[in-house]
């Protein structure tokens, strides 16, 4: 199967049907009806893809000028799909996101391979903004039309991760599981509903506008209904800077100020991309942790700002560490050994003590806020989709999370869901597909 798919570029990019079931078996037969999903634009999209392959994994971005008219659509941009790493990891956070975990209903390894091909084809087409091919009288339209007739890319990224349960006996992958991958731990301050935790496969779908995210999600699920079913979902948004610097979370604090520099490739190799102890296929991938953290915002708003600031260790207005004056000032823990300015149990001090010993524990955070209705007590259900990427689940996220146990902030937050996943290596080119190294 993989040979057939890898050998023929045209077939891989153009002949896969949107209606091909993830259930069809056998490598060379015609899969599904001959309805091609999208026309492949040889121009812009291909050029962008090539640029990314040449880069250091940072996604190449093209942006066209924003139309001047008042009612004109937002500026379009294409984020390269192909590369040694998946887009959506080092890529700067756009405004909108959906995190959707699925359980695999694929019946066997061959089905799973088909499923990953289908996901690759959809993600490739959607992220490059390929217009859908008309279906005439052969089928209902291949596209839902929610982005209009041309279905622009809109800064879309689709990032695919697998959970530990995908490596159970069903698909013969047990011996290929990333070393640290497991069901998400329950931490002391957690309030997890296991029905909305974990999952075999996670899609992180991000774009500049929420309709672009939804459009992608509808197409991705439409092409894969037989092979996977949604398990849980949370939609997120990333607000604009208020008034500047790093965007704020729903507690009103800037969140992500101290993130490692994604432009530092050596640093990313040390902190984000899978290390030497992992199976060979995992090179270029990354451990992906998602935690849905409810914020008890009504309670939080009844707390004095000075107390809030001591819990975080930063000023609420500027984001400056309490030892400094501006957001990007480095917290001076050494000059504040007794925590007079930044309390010893404050969030930033415990999370990142900034010592040589904890340097390798840093992770790349890429969280979004969520807002989803009301609770039975009349409180607003909102919070943070904590999402981070790291080289080593235990050395980084788990170590830091354990250290944060019982921090003062825990009274105002309640982790309810999420999971541990492993973001697959990137899809290298038009002949490659998600998981090719794992399933080949």
């Amino acid at each position: 199967m993989s040979d057939a798919c890898g050998a023929n570029q045209e077939r891989a990019t153009q002949e896969r049907s949107s209606r091909r079931s993830a259930r069809s078996v056998g490598g060379n037969e015609v899969r599904g009806q001959p309805v091609e999903r999208r026309r492949f634009l040889q121009g812009a999209a291909a050029a962008v893809g090539g640029a990314a392959v040449g880069g250091l994994g940072a996604s190449a971005i093209t942006a066209s000028a924003a139309p001047a008219a008042k009612d004109a659509p937002p500026a379009d941009r294409v984020i390269a799909f192909h590369g040694p790493h998946q887009a959506g990891i080092l890529t700067a956070k756009p405004a909108s996101a959906a995190f959707v975990a699925f359980d695999l209903t694929a019946r066997n390894r061959s089905d799973l391979t088909d499923l990953l091909h289908a996901l690759t084809d959809q993600a490739r087409a959607l992220t490059s903004g390929q217009p859908p091919v008309s279906t005439g009288i052969a089928a209902p339209s291949a596209d839902d039309g929610t982005l209009g007739p041309t279905a622009p890319a809109g800064g879309l990224t689709v990032t695919l991760s697998l959970g530990a349960s995908a490596f159970d006996g069903r698909f013969g992958l047990a011996s290929h599981k990333p070393k640290r991958l497991r069901r998400m731990d329950t931490f002391v301050n957690d309030n997890l509903d296991r029905d909305v935790c974990d999952g075999d496969l996670l899609l992180q779908v991000c774009a500049d506008q929420p309709d672009t995210v939804i459009h992608a999600l509808r197409n991705l699920t439409r092409a894969t209904r037989g092979g996977m079913q949604p398990r849980w979902r949370v939609d997120g948004f990333n607000p604009p800077p208020r008034p500047d610097g790093t965007p704020r979370n729903l507690m009103g604090f800037k969140d992500g100020t101290a993130n490692p520099d994604v432009k530092d490739a050596a640093l990313m190799n040390r902190l984000v991309w899978a290390g030497s102890g992992e199976p060979g296929w995992a090179a270029g991938g990354s451990y992906h942790v998602v935690r849905v953290i409810r914020m008890l915002v009504e309670f939080w708003d009844r707390v004095e700002i000075s107390e809030q600031e001591r819990m975080f260790g930063r000023r609420k207005d500027t984001g400056a560490p309490l030892t400094g004056n501006a957001e990007f000032d480095t917290p001076s823990f050494a000059d504040d050994p007794t925590g007079d300015a930044i309390p010893l149990d404050s969030h930033i001090r415990v999370a990142n003590p900034r010592t040589p010993a904890t340097d390798s524990q840093r992770m790349l955070r890429r969280g979004f806020s969520y807002d989803r209705g009301v609770d039975s007590n009349g409180n607003l259900d909102m919070g943070l989709i904590f999402s981070c990427y790291q080289q080593d689940l235990d050395r980084q996220f788990v170590t830091v999370q354990r250290r944060l146990a019982d921090e003062p902030l825990v009274d105002y937050i309640s982790p309810t869901g999420g999971g541990y996943f492993f973001a697959l290596p990137g899809v290298r080119d038009v002949t490659d597909w998600y998981g090719s190294g794992l399933l080949a």
Partner: protein, 394 residues
């Protein structure tokens, strides 16, 4: 069933109205999806004239690959326009309806070959325009399908009518048994006999109000009724189910059983003389599973019996039956038909062990499996409705 999504009334062929309604749905999809040029004005498009006297003129510079047309109806009549393979008549794209004096966009991807526009104007014979030859090869090509005519759908439609007609006496007998139980006050027996009677109805494939008012009387839901399950307008199988599984007395249920029996008798009497719209048969093949997904697999139609999965299994029988009638037409038109048939069999096998289990008692993997099966089937059945929609070819 609630929410008649697509108009369908037995006894009335209403071909024009129904066809137009369905066509509008499809045309809406196609016109909003087929264009590839980003320019909102569609500036690069070729304008094609459509009328009885001038069908398909204006294709000046034909090239392989993506084609963007502006189809202008210069006639005083409305009509439909098809872009066809000049030799076989297979359809690559269509605009339907195209009102007099209006213009619509049509985009297709074509490889080398001979093509023509076919104009099917109201109250006029179909006219095929000049043949246009494209040379070269394109790798991305819109799918083409031989259209199905009203004439070709007559056979499957009659087979479906006969099938339903043959099933109705059995349904009536089972309903009479249920009614007898209730009249005798043997509600325990009635709870046993309710299911086979209900499944006999579900097996007919009566999705989305396909039997018109009779469906509401036989299998209606309380949706849209102010009093909900307590509303006097809630009648039929599910109303009786509610009573049988909520401790209601035989006195309460007796008139409901009587009216159900009357409704079934009425359907049995009227159906053989009714004429089903051929369009409806093609839609039915698709919508039975849509109906199961929307109502049974959400538990909405479980009023106490916990028989939703048994209903879905009966619905698959209905799907298989209707699909069987359409198979001769689909064999040469739908390349995913073997896969669809395989998936249907798999779904049946997945449902068989759990058909007696209430939906809520399925494990999560079991439920996800059934959801995957039925939603995948719905995807694969949707093209059946598109392909088999009767179209004017002459």
């Amino acid at each position: 069933m609630p929410g008649v999504r697509r108009i369908s009334v037995p006894g009335v062929t209403a071909a024009t109205a129904v066809l137009a309604a369905f066509a509008a749905v499809l045309a809406g999809c196609s016109s909003s999806h087929h264009r590839a040029a980003p320019a909102p004005t569609n500036g690069g498009a070729t304008t094609i004239n459509v009328s009885v006297s001038q069908c398909g003129t204006g294709w000046a510079h034909p090239t392989v690959g993506h084609q963007s047309f502006r189809i202008h109806n210069s006639d005083t009549r409305g009509g439909e326009v098809f872009l066809v393979d000049a030799k076989s008549g297979a359809v690559f794209g269509f605009v339907e309806p195209l009102g007099a004096g209006t213009t619509a966009d049509l985009s297709v991807d074509l490889t080398g070959g001979q093509y023509a526009f076919r104009c099917v104007m109201q109250d006029a014979d179909a006219v095929t325009g000049p043949t246009v030859t494209l040379t070269g090869t394109a790798t991305v090509v819109s799918p083409s399908v031989m259209p199905v005519s009203q004439q070709q759908m007559i056979g499957p439609t009659q087979q479906y009518e006969k099938y339903v007609t043959r099933q109705l006496p059995g349904l009536a007998t089972l309903v009479d048994t249920l009614r007898g139980d209730i009249r005798r006050g043997d509600l325990s027996r009635a709870r046993t006999d309710w299911l086979p009677a209900h499944l006999a109805y579900e097996r007919l494939g009566a999705a989305y109000g396909a039997f018109g008012d009779a469906d509401g009387d036989i299998n209606g839901l309380p949706n849209g009724l102010p009093g909900g399950v307590h509303d006097r307008g809630f009648v039929g199988f599910h109303r009786i189910e509610y009573g049988l599984w909520h401790g209601q007395s035989a006195t309460v249920l007796r008139p409901l059983a009587d009216s159900l029996a009357e409704a079934v008798a009425g359907l049995r009497k009227s159906f053989p003389s009714a004429q089903i719209d051929p369009l409806e048969v093609s839609i039915r093949a698709h919508e039975i599973t849509e109906n199961a997904l929307q109502f049974e697999l959400t538990g909405q139609t479980d009023f106490g019996s916990g028989s939703g999965l048994a209903t879905v299994r009966a619905n698959l029988d209905g799907t298989r039956t209707v699909l069987g009638f359409l198979e001769p037409l689909l064999k040469t038109r739908y390349s995913a038909l073997p896969q669809l048939q395989r998936d249907l069999t798999l779904a049946e096998h997945d449902l068989d062990p759990v058909r007696g289990t209430p939906l809520a008692r399925l494990t999560r993997p079991q439920r996800e499996r059934i959801n995957a099966d039925i939603s995948e089937l719905s995807e694969l059945l949707a093209p059946v409705a598109a392909i088999c929609e009767p179209r004017r070819t002459s």
